[in-house]
Amino acid sequence: MALISLKGITKSYQLGRTSVPALRGVELDVEAGEFTVVMGPSGSGKTTLLNIIGLLDRADAGSFKLDGEELAGRDFNDMAALRNRKIGFIFQSFNLIPVLDVRENIEFPCLLRKEDRTALRKRVELLAEEVGLTSVLKHRPDELSGGQRQRVAIARALVTQPEIVLADEPTANLDSGTSEQILQLMERLNASRGVTFLFSTHDPRIMKRARRVVLMADGKLVDGTAAAKAEVQGVSGLDHS
């Protein structure tokens, strides 16, 4: 059974009196443990797709199952609880809470569900060690470099032990060296923890590392691997194997 199963997902946005279709009947299955990239030109619908998978937005029609559970028609609080339990987010601009220090930022999603603080503390320390943040646990986000901030975001995304981590352009605000480190970290976490990663990106380095590339155009998935490989090669000049 696929971890994520999308069938006939459609989504339109209203721009004045005009309805603009963003997704037109998307069909997608993502298996547990995948390291998958969604790519496509601007306006192709990849961010909308990630928003729907991340329960940040609702599809107009279609079926969306997460771990076999149908999510269409859930109310807001149910969706908030599912986001908290099953989904981790890594944002392009890190989106850390500026008034909380690193430890508190990482703990935050677990505190929302009132987890035991002692066990949580231990888990946060282990996670901080794994992502290389032990020395800055008491620092506020504005005292960190871009790379460190994204590490905090990664740790925050993983602390709830989610089934899937959604990353929207996670390296877009990082220099190439830091991007490389962040990618290596995510690859390692994918391998060691078996967490499913789903990216939306233009970064050829991520595409190169992805075990699966999903190509989108005009709100639809373009048939899989062959077109995606060609796109990757076209964009990056790199071989995709």
């Binding site: 928003n51 940040l56 908030a80 609880a81 989106n95 809470i97 999603p109 709830t160």
Partner: protein, 404 residues
């Protein structure tokens, strides 16, 4: 967790929070000080009236108030030990003193003037009316000084009274027969009421009883009580103890204009406090709305990691509540310090205006007022926060996250 986050957010935009907290601080401080000073003036005037002339409660013969203009002395009380024992037996009665109130003609041999006379018992008057001599310029009346008198300032001037000038009081006695006796001025009543200054004369009870043929008879008993908040209850108890032959009236019934002025004063004060707080609360609502708009993306992040709408709303309400509590408690603290200073300094001298001197006002903060003001500021801030908080809570995560 929400509280910690709210507290940190309050101190995040320091200048803006300082303005909001400052507005609440100032609103609460001004409301409390205004309340204490206005209440102080009102209570001082009431206390002065009660303690210098009217007493907390007065007892008269039944029918006295209805017919006193035509037959002022016909409705008298026996100055009996039984009646005084009954008065003493009533809980909350602190002290009492007998009096006779009557009208007469005061003459200096060549000129005369109508006088409103109060005959007091020098032995007991101080216990029931401790401020009876507050505006006296001269010597207090004494038990053994039977013919001594105090004369109102204007009346004194009109009759050109000086030591050695002969003074005589003429009045119609109990049986309707006129009588006149000599008086000796001992002092001038420089009271704040101009009408009293033109008419008022104070004599001893023994003098009046002799002049009016009212041996062991008085027109009223003036009563002081321990707990002024139990005024009506005590008046009712006195009425029950003395029976239907007597009528009992409180100072509020005897001086309705003073009672009404006090009620009006409190209503105006309440209105002013309301305006102060409304201004402060508009500030809270405005600041919070700006905060919500500025933190839209952060709200999106909070929603993305699993915050429910109600948690987001509570976060902003908590922030408003913390700001209000901080500002209000600071305002309360400073107000209490200022009032303590004023009290330690023996109160504040307040001018009576147009050369009528000063009276000492003790700022008075009723115990409920700080709770009411701080509570209103907090509750009002919470209410002011509702709209911005709901705006934050109703955001769609996807839109909030895409805001700049």
């Amino acid at each position: 967790m929400l509280l910690r986050l709210a507290a940190r957010n309050v101190f995040r935009a320091k200048a803006r929070s300082a303005i909001t907290i400052g507005a609440l601080f100032f609103g609460v401080l001004m409301t409390l000080l205004l309340s204490a000073f206005v209440m102080g003036v009102g209570e001082s005037l009431v206390a002065e009236t009660i303690e210098s002339r009217v007493g907390a409660i007065q007892v008269h013969k039944a029918g006295y108030f209805e017919k006193r203009d035509r037959q002022p002395l016909a409705f008298y009380l026996e100055q009996s030990p039984e009646l005084e024992t009954k008065l003493r037996s009533v809980a909350n009665v602190k002290a009492f003193t007998p009096r006779i109130s009557f009208n007469g003609m005061l003459t200096n041999g060549s000129r005369g003037a109508i006088a409103v006379i109060t005959a007091i018992d020098p032995a007991t008057v101080q216990s029931a009316l401790p401020k009876v001599d507050l505006y006296l310029e001269g010597k207090a009346l004494e038990q053994n000084d039977r013919n001594g008198a105090h004369v109102g300032q204007e009346l004194n001037r009109a009759l050109d009274l000086k030591p050695g000038v002969p003074l005589m009081l003429q009045a119609q006695g109990l049986g309707g027969r006129d009588n006149a006796l000599d008086l000796e001025p001992r002092g001038v009543l420089a009271g704040q009421n101009p009408l009293e200054g033109k008419r008022a004369v104070t004599v001893t009870l023994a003098f009046a009883q002799s002049l009016l043929g009212m041996d062991k008879k008085v027109t009223e008993y003036v009563i002081a009580i321990d707990d002024v908040t139990r005024l009506d209850e005590t008046a009712a108890a006195i009425g029950s103890a003395l029976g239907p032959d007597c009528e009992v009236q409180t100072w509020e019934q005897l001086r309705p204009s003073l009672r009404d002025a006090r009620l009006l004063q409190r209503a105006i004060l309440g209105g002013l406090a309301f305006i102060f707080l409304i201004i402060a609360l508009f500030g809270v609502a405005n600041t919070l709305l700006m905060t919500v708009l500025e933190r839209t993306r952060e709200i999106g992040t909070l929603l993305a990691v699993g915050m429910t709408r109600s948690m987001v709303a509570r976060l902003f309400v908590l922030e408003a509540l913390l700001q209000a509590a901080l500002g209000a408690l600071l305002g309360l603290g400073v107000a209490l310090v200022v009032l303590e200073f004023a009290r330690n300094g023996g109160g504040i001298m307040v001018s009576m205006g147009s050369g009528q001197g000063y009276f000492r006002m003790m700022p008075t903060l009723l115990p409920a007022v700080p709770f009411l003001v701080v509570g209103s500021a907090c509750l009002g801030s919470v209410l002011a926060a509702v709209s911005p908080a709901l705006r934050a809570a109703r955001m769609r995560p996807v839109e909030a996250l895409s805001s700049p």
